[in-house]
């Protein structure tokens, strides 16, 4: 019978033994070394039955098909735009997927998206060499208005959004703001100057305490307090 060495939600470092015996299976971020299951990266232990997984606590975003990301236009090419994706690879937004408008031959492309603009886009394809293609055709894909851009840990994005958007919805309602969070760890905030700071603090708080239980209540408490203070 196998033996579990670590506890759920424990922080482990690369190479640490997680479990002994063949009863346990190595999941994401783990590997098997003979009889042992060991950590293959720094992360948080998550045990699901016999499967041991590691949730990353740090690291760069890796583009995945169908992810909605927020990117920055860094280059205008002949046939489209090059977008910085906050990962190791930049992405290509080809002309035909860029907008539903008609783009005339030889048109000045910077009138659609110019360098420095942020866009919400969807990843359509990732090759084995990690060449990334994007599209802007689809619901909820658009060019962002001026606002505040902050970077968060990509692995914490699901926690920031919450179950079907509950967490980010709560922040939006409390501060009367608009928030977009991309899978690649870039968040865009549009709010009044005071509320903007509250939103940033709230997101930083979720990032820091993402692994503890009762986070929603904690954030709610924080928002109530911060919004009330500014209201006075």
């Amino acid at each position: 019978m196998g033996k579990l060495i670590v506890k759920e939600k424990e922080v482990v470092v690369p190479g640490e033994d997680l479990a002994e015996g063949m009863d346990y299976l190595p999941g994401d971020g783990c590997y098997r070394d003979k009889e042992k299951v060991r950590a293959g990266r720094l992360g948080l232990v998550k045990i699901g039955g016999r499967l041991i997984k590691l949730l990353p606590l740090s690291g760069k975003y890796l583009p995945k098909k169908n992810d909605i990301i927020i990117g920055k236009v860094i280059e205008i090419a002949m046939m489209g735009w090059r977008i910085d994706t906050n990962s190791a690879y930049s992405a290509m937004l080809p002309l035909r997927d860029a907008t539903s408008e008609y783009i005339a031959r030889g048109a000045n492309l910077s009138q659609y998206y110019s360098i420095g603009d942020y866009v919400v886009a969807k990843v359509t394809n990732v090759t084995s060499q990690n060449l990334v293609d994007l599209t802007m055709k689809g619901p909820g894909l658009f060019k962002l208005k001026p606002g505040r851009i902050i970077k968060v840990q990509p692995s914490k994005v699901p926690r920031i959004i919450g179950k079907s958007g509950s967490m980010v919805g709560m922040i939006k309602d409390a501060t009367n703001s608009k928030i977009m969070v991309g899978q690649n760890g870039i968040a865009w905030i549009d709010a009044s100057p005071e509320m903007e700071l509250v939103v940033v603090d709230a997101i930083r708080m979720i990032e820091k305490y993402s692994h503890i239980d009762g986070l929603t209540d904690k954030v709610k408490e924080f928002l109530d307090k911060a919004v009330k203070k500014d209201g006075k």
């Binding site: 190479g15 990266r41 990353p56």
Partner: protein, 243 residues
């Protein structure tokens, strides 16, 4: 006369005054010291201090260096101008720092998996604000922690220490003073994969007898286990749950 004196010095058995032969200098480690970097760490052993910052995986320039099957690791090792014993260290790469960067890269590479990131690079920058021997080892220890902090996939951590043999006495973690002693001495920097005990760096400078060398390496492996615990604790401390 001088020949005789030299022989007498050689015959003298070296004995440490301030610590045991298998004892390292006091060690301090901290993770997350450079906020701008994707991962960073500080490793201090005695007076030797190493700072490591990891950037990436990110775009690689010049492009011809890239590997389409996996990401590459690029290490730079720099001693700060005021770091040494008082003589100004000229900044920028030189023959020595290039060699050390290369062996550091080779010491770290066996545990690092960059197959998810083809054509990209992970930059590791090691800077030494203060040096008192054992800099490449301190650099490797700091770099291993910084890479783990950056979330790079790693099989294991790397711990590193310099061992040596001073007039027939195997010792661990030489200071600059000991390195410069007269007589038949050897300085052996080594790095070890903590889990398996495999050696990823072994260099030798000086003269040493076989038995002494083997004894010194065994002592080094023991010391690396202690260093591993310090590295592990430093990493956990950064990500520790604060309630």
């Amino acid at each position: 006369m001088t020949k005789l004196l030299k022989r007498m010095v050689n015959k003298m058995v070296y004995k440490r005054k301030d610590r045991k032969e298998n004892e390292t200098r006091p060690i301090e480690a901290k993770v997350g010291v450079i906020k701008n970097a994707d991962g960073s760490a500080m490793f201090k052993i005695g007076k030797t201090t190493a700072l490591a910052a990891v950037y990436g995986p990110r775009d690689l320039y010049p492009r011809f260096l890239s590997d389409p099957t996996k990401g590459i690791l690029r290490v730079s090792y720099v001693m700060m101008p005021f770091a040494g014993a008082g003589d100004r260290v000229r900044p920028g790469p030189n023959r020595r720092s290039r060699e050390i960067a290369l062996v550091t890269e080779q010491a770290l590479m066996p545990v690092i998996d960059l197959s998810e990131f083809p054509n990209s690079v992970v930059d590791v920058v090691i800077e030494l604000p203060q040096t008192d021997a054992g800099t490449r080892c301190a650099g490797i220890c700091a770099a291993a922690m910084a890479l783990a902090d950056a979330g790079i996939k790693m099989k294991d951590l790397i711990s590193s220490v310099a061992v040596g043999c001073l007039n027939g006495t195997p010792v661990v973690d030489l200071s600059k003073e000991e390195e410069d002693l007269e007589g038949e001495n050897a300085d052996v920097p080594m790095a070890v994969i903590s889990g398996s005990g495999e050696v990823t760096l072994l260099q030798l400078d000086g003269e040493v007898e076989k038995e002494h060398l083997l004894r010194a390496i065994e002592m080094g492996k023991e010391a690396c286990k202690k260093i591993y615990d310090i590295q592990k604790n430093a990493l956990k401390k950064k990500y520790g749950v604060e309630k």
